[in-house]
Symmetry: C2
Subunit: 668 residues, 2 copies
């Protein structure tokens, strides 16, 4: 290579060179990530259809108002179902296409929250009447839980559903401002129907707590709101996130609905107003499915962030000169690649764990169908732990790689800001993660106590989500004092499990007086232990296709990010004045350096097209500067040479200043 | 209090009750924060003028396009100078008003980057010709450094300024696409002039490295670009940040400018093409001023974020019931307030340190004026360390408190998302913090080696920014093995200094082979040690006005966030199986509980009006739900009952689904 080349000419060469040096069999890994070559081919086919259709064009998106973004979102959704007709896609294929369109649309919420809740809990009559319509989007639905004054704590919801035996109806009512349903996706301007969480009030005034009711919101004739309901959109979201979705509000003014519209799979009210108790507790299969869809979404968005940042840092050159007299590729700096590579590893881990979870979900659902609820609690805790991780790691990873990209990472055209803003609500909109933290800690303590109480405690008595507690048993208690062999993934996995175990033990010790962050840290430790073991279980499969460092670097980064607790509980040998973590960090440095030549291959294996990434800095050919330049030319401010505000705002300002100077000079 | 009150009615009562219990003398603290009652009165007066002027109205801001936001920004700027005329404000008063308008506007960049660079380096002739015009905004300027292909590494900039002795001109040229100036604030559509960083090329072809040139960009007659320059806006920024600023690009096509337009305070080119070397190196007084303005901006935005979140969490009630049978105030949960209160403490610390820095700046500038450059290096390092901290802590603090607010924190109307997006570029747009990290580490190592090399090393030989290194001297080396008395701020300060000292020592030990994050961690440790000692120096002043916990909680949170390194270097006594950090964390819990009753008083003392915060959740009266409801009604999507896309997009989708169901039923 010659250093007479311009920086721009270098970019494409750098990308070609990076692809030359990778030993990853990109096509093979890609097929693996998509669950086989069939999966990849379907994805590729759908991307082709969608990306060549003008309705899904993204070029004007950065300049649109929210209203335009919403209108684009519903237009895209309608077009998607037209395409389903045209190409005879199955519902599953259409669901894949819906993920490809690269926009959060109201229809996502129909499938992600409304439909599973309805189908789980509606009971046979409502299913018969509305099931087909819902599956075919003849009606569009939403799930109304959160209120202005209350989030996840459903016990405190204020909306009421009073049974009126005289007319055999429920009266849905919002007694206060704070009882207004709020944040409900697809409610604002789109949905025709909804499932409403409301306190069931019996004719004698008894409050039976929250139940679900199927409510028509808008006319199927002309889409006007049903009288008795005030509906609207709650306004834009922070940082432009979820721009295309009409999160909405609803206030009910003594709205009557027929008795049959109570979702009655688990409990119901008879015509004469008797409450029939559920035979067994409600099972949130829908909730677990929802977490799965978030996990999958998170995994792929981390993959996108990682692709964009690794590609850009491969072609961006800055500061120190390398052997050719050129500035070094930014990715060659240890301070950069030690941040980027763990993120790449997280994407792989979450994609594979997500696929594994999907398989387990079908087993789980088959069991539920036979009435076997024995694994409900375990499924809930295991998926909650994964949700905690993907929500927080996803947000942190996207921001980390965005900042690693330097100044251009702050351009809208880099795409990372959009990925971040659209991902953020996962950590909050279903109630913040504190709630999940507490559930995870409670479950961990339950198993810890069971272990304590057992006369012959065994590792096999523990469910997978709490398997790390086995390390508290005498036969597992040895910690070697020697320096850990960091390059062996089992060392990291064991350390993460041990940390979780001693932290749960410590949490039990201080049951009545934990410190303020303890539950959060215990939950995180438990989740990471579980995550690490899941990765461990996947290693054997992976080793055939992936460089072993790809897994190890993610695990080591987990250990590093949790080093405070690891050291605090003396789980690492101390180093006598020397930095006790140096061995760990040097291992990360080494492993990153080894993995570096594979980085481009591993991101290529995600199979993203430029259209899917929609990032000027993440383009496949590495020609980032030309793309950034071209994008800037589309900015509407550039449509006129002299800006429209010139006469009104700039000219008077300049002239005022010039007058002041002229008059003070005249005085001299 | 009765639990028959609605959640909404409770909000105002909760806020009144919180104000009743605070013992902080709000007015006294507020005056202190504003540098005396004069400062506060000026601020109050300017807020009144600005907030009652329709031009500065914010109610439509959340719904505007970027083009509208830009036009609003320049319109506001023009109005501000009209107001200056009307009210005869001084330039200092106008600068305060410019910070109050709550929008990043192009004119900020004129003052923050263009003017100080020009005034520092222009030399007498350019100053005579343009100084008054610049001070009075008769011309509007920008500072063109960053290029598409290069950021902070000015040595690699590609733009050239070739001297042509035959015409006594420089030819400014962009030889490549990547040499296009990029990201330059106020360049896109606003500025008439700029200071351009370009490599000076002598007639014999010698490259003298980067120098500064004063270039007219647009006509003062009609604002059209000067022939030979391609100008434009680079497009929107991530997450909607910096929306009103026209960060721009410029490409020069052999543009001629007169020889006199080289900024020649430090070096120049004679008519016949001889290079006159600088007598002493360039002094970036402007750079230090700029950091001060960022520090101040950061301090107050952390204050805003802290005010909004503490107010909202005071009136929001959720989950567990308290003694009155009401749900608990969210702020009463240790897991919430242990996050919010350190952020409040950071705001205080940065405001006070910013004021201290301002005083030191005038001393510094007076010294410079006499040619005394002895403190330049120390000033650069000390301010760089503060910049590293305020940039990263600011971003993290705003996100932390946003997430502590739960779901509503993700609403645009909460304001936290806007604070975050507008703050983010500070961490990146001047080159990422890696560059500063390396400078800080280099300076620390220099002083460490000087200490090592000295025969009689003394603490007093160290500058304030490296004073922590004294702890490596024998007379400071004792570490007590006893449990730290965490409630004493000196314990935290000493621990943070000791961490920095041993890390610098360790960094020197591994000079050739640091781990990948070492420089980042050493820099952070040094910065936090300096920050902590600055806080320590302010404690005595503070103790008269502020509860002592206000300072202590911020310091303890710093210790906690750096616990990994503190433990790794064995700076805390180990706890023999117990959590070694429990003492620290329980101290934080205790001190937070003690500080909690003062939280509302301490946020009130920032003196923000509802107009300034522009957050439905941060309103003074606590009536958050009504404000959120009212804001939602202003969403343009709610202007029509049936959304405009209904006929085109929603209706066909529903009808398609209904047809499918009807036809499959017909077949049965």
């Amino acid at each position: 290579m010659s250093n007479n080349m311009t920086a721009q000419e270098m970019t494409e060469r750098d990308m070609v060179a990076a692809r030359m040096q990778t030993s990853v069999q990109v096509a093979r890994v890609r097929d693996y990530l998509y669950g086989g070559s069939e999966g990849w081919k379907l994805h590729e086919k759908l991307v082709k259809v969608v990306s060549s259709d003008a309705i899904f064009d993204k070029s004007k998106r950065p300049f649109m108002t929210r209203k335009e973004r919403y209108e684009r979102a519903i237009n895209m959704t309608n077009r998607l179902y037209e395409l389903q007709d045209i190409h005879s896609w199955s519902n599953d294929e259409t669901a894949v296409a819906l993920n490809i369109i690269d926009e959060e649309v109201p229809m996502h919420l129909h499938f992600a929250t409304f439909e599973p809740v309805f189908m789980d809990q509606c009971g046979p009559e409502l299913r018969h009447k509305y099931g087909d319509l819902i599956m075919n989007r003849g009606i569009q639905g939403c799930y109304l839980q959160t209120e202005l004054g209350h989030g996840t704590n459903v016990g405190s919801l204020e909306t009421t559903a009073r049974y009126l035996p005289e007319t055999k109806e429920f009266e849905i009512h919002s007694p206060t401002l704070t009882s207004s349903k709020w944040w409900v996706g697809s409610l604002g301007k789109t949905s025709t129907h909804g499932v409403v969480q409301a306190k069931l009030i019996m004719p004698d005034g008894r409050d039976m707590g929250p139940h679900l009711f199927f409510v028509q919101l808008r006319s199927l004739e002309d889409h006007t709101p049903i009288p008795g309901i005030t509906l609207g959109d709650i306004g834009p979201k922070a940082m432009g996130g979820y721009c295309g979705v009409d999160n909405g509000f609803a206030r009910f003014d003594q709205l009557r609905i027929p008795r049959e519209n109570m979702l009655s799979e688990y409990s119901r009210v008879t015509e004469d107003g008797q409450y029939v108790k559920p035979v067994h507790p409600k099972i949130s299969y829908g909730g677990v499915c929802y977490i799965h869809s978030e996990l999958e979404k998170g995994a792929w968005v981390i993959g996108k962030a990682s692709t964009v940042s690794i590609r850009y840092c491969t072609v961006r050159r800055q500061s120190n000169q390398d052997n050719d007299g050129l500035e070094q590729q930014v990715i060659s700096y240890p301070s950069v690649h030690f941040r980027l590579l763990p993120v790449l590893s997280h994407a792989y881990a979450f994609i594979l764990i997500g696929r594994d979870l999907k398989k387990r979900l079908s087993v789980f659902s088959a069991r539920l169908a036979t009435g076997d609820t024995s694994t409900v609690q375990e499924m809930h805790i295991a998926t909650s732990m994964l949700k905690i991780l993907v929500a927080s790691m996803g947000a942190q990873d996207i921001e980390t790689v965005r900042r690693s990209m330097g100044g251009h990472g702050f351009s809208e055209f880099a795409a990372l800001g959009r990925y971040y803003a659209d991902w953020l609500p996962v950590a909050t909109y279903e109630g913040d993660n504190y709630v999940l933290d507490i559930q995870v800690v409670r479950a961990a303590l339950k198993w810890y106590r069971a272990l304590q109480a057992s006369e012959h405690p065994t590792a096999s008595s523990l469910p997978p989500s709490s398997a790390y507690l086995r390390l508290l048993l005498p036969e597992f208690s040895t910690i070697t004092g020697s320096t850990p062999a960091w390059l062996d993934p089992m060392v990291s996995i064991n350390l993460l499990e041990r940390r979780a175990a001693v932290m749960v033990e410590n949490r039990a010790l201080h049951e009545k007086d934990p410190d303020a962050s303890m539950d959060n840290r215990v939950s995180r430790a438990a989740a990471e232990a579980y995550f690490a073991t899941k990765i461990g279980a996947l290693i054997e499969n992976l080793s055939r296709s992936l460089p072993p460092q790809e897994v190890a670097v993610g695990l080591l980064a987990l250990v590093e990010s949790g080093i405070g607790d690891i050291l605090s509980f003396s789980l690492l040998p101390s180093a006598d004045g020397e930095d006790a973590t140096r061995g760990l960090r040097m291992a990360i440095k080494q492993i990153c350096a080894e993995l570096l030549p594979e980085a481009i291959g591993l991101t290529d294996a995600f199979g993203f097209t430029d259209w899917e990434l929609d990032s000027a800095l993440g383009v496949f050919d590495g020609n980032v500067y030309e793309h950034l330049w071209a994008k800037a030319q589309t900015e509407p401010l550039n449509a006129t040479e002299v800006t429209e505000g010139y006469e009104a705002s700039i000219k008077p300002m300049l002239q005022r200043g010039q007058r002041i100077v002229a008059s003070s000079k005249a005085k001299l």
